[in-house]
Amino acid sequence: MRLIVLRLVTWFAGLMPTVWLVWRFLDDRLGANPIEEILHRLGDISLIFLLVTLAITPLRAVIGWNEIIKIRRPLGLFGFFYLTMHFLTYAVLDQTLDFEFIIEDVLERPYISIGFTAWILLIPLAITSTKGWIRRLGKRWKKLHRLAYVATIMGVVHFYWQVKADTYWPTLAAMLITVLMIYRIRSSRGRWRHKLGKLRTVDRG
């Protein structure tokens, strides 16, 4: 029962940003520079989804509810969806598909190079998110999907390099991804699981 609620909440959370942005667009609440506003909000949203996706595994260990892993895929895919929309907003709305300028940007502006690369890295992850691919890839699936960390770190650097002077939010995002990375590195050495195993004296089944 709790899982169904969790899935509903996940889908609601995944669709709400779209509803919110569409509403703001229709209500003319995007300000004087709507394309910039949409671009920046989609960037925020996709980064939040990516960070939440990476937080699921540590969260599962901390709260001891295994089933929560089931929302990791939809969360990751929402992240990829919003990131794709972020890129398309840039390419289609902001640069009006002027490839000469887009290519120059991707090649010559480091923050765009790294952001573009992050998106590219997530494409194979989105494609191989299905059960069929998990089966097909076996052990290699886990290794491939570690790219989620690489892409998210690149996203944080992209954010940091993009802001003019106010590094408050990018710094916060950097701290979050650092915490998640530390967890991941330590857990892959087994220590974290061992410690939590000792703490969990009550079965939450």
């Binding site: 300000g31 004087a32 394309i35 923050y111 002077a165």
Partner: protein
Amino acid sequence: MLIGKSGKIPSSEMTPEGVYVNRREFIGKSAAVVAGASMGSGIGGSIGPENFQKDWSKVRSELDEELTPFDDVTSYNNFYEFGTGKSDPVRNAHTLRPRPWTIEVGGLCDNPGTYGLEDFIKPGNIEDRVYRMRCVEAWSMVIPWQGFSLKDVIDQAKPSGSARFVEFRTLHDLEQMPGQRYGVLRWPYVEGLRLDEARHPLTMLITGVYGKTLPNQNGAPIRLVVPWKYGFKGIKSIVSMRFLEQMPMNTWKRSASHEYGFYANVNPDVPHPRWSQARERRIGEFRRRRTLMFNGYADEVASLYSGMDLRTHY
């Protein structure tokens, strides 16, 4: 293209008589509006009959470009003293008290002094100027300002022979400008011009926009506008003007000298290290447009920089 003083607009550009009867009367009205406001109304909001704005919407800009709507001009601002978001200033600038206001003029000059706003804003002194404004972030607007030439103040102050630059400072008051509690920039905001740039006819001290008193979020009660330079040169809420021998250290250059320089001339050929300056988003337009050298004022200002390498002196 020469930006003439008020009254020299070609008749083809003038609005139909019924709407916009007499330019001098209009200026008189806007000056009166501003002077009236300086009697202590406090908030730099909308003062004067609402049809001021409608009149402006019918005015064909001398630039033959669409004016940026008043709502956009007054709600999309970079004014970090009130927050770093574009919509922060309009939300937060109500704490600024633009009246009474004094400006200290000093440094290397024969006539230093403390001026009140009333000393600058006199009927007949205030002109209309419609200028392009290009932000270093690659967006731009076309804004109908009201103000007067900076040259008038300089002539009155009589800078001495050794003076080569003018430095401006914004108010530094954590209570009125809560954003100054955060170290995103070094406070107070400082800007400067070379003396010849400061004396140029295009350089204005601005006290109004769209026929209304300058709103707080736009830099009330008095700000600088230098239309051929990036917008960050347009220092807001000025409290001090000093004549110096050395080039002042302007705030954005101090913040990131490899990205922002002193001259900050609009130049599509010199990219910001992190983004291109070749194009800009004109607020209200969908497609980006090509950025013009010196923001389209090359005829009037290019001679100031002849012989200068604009890639080095950005």
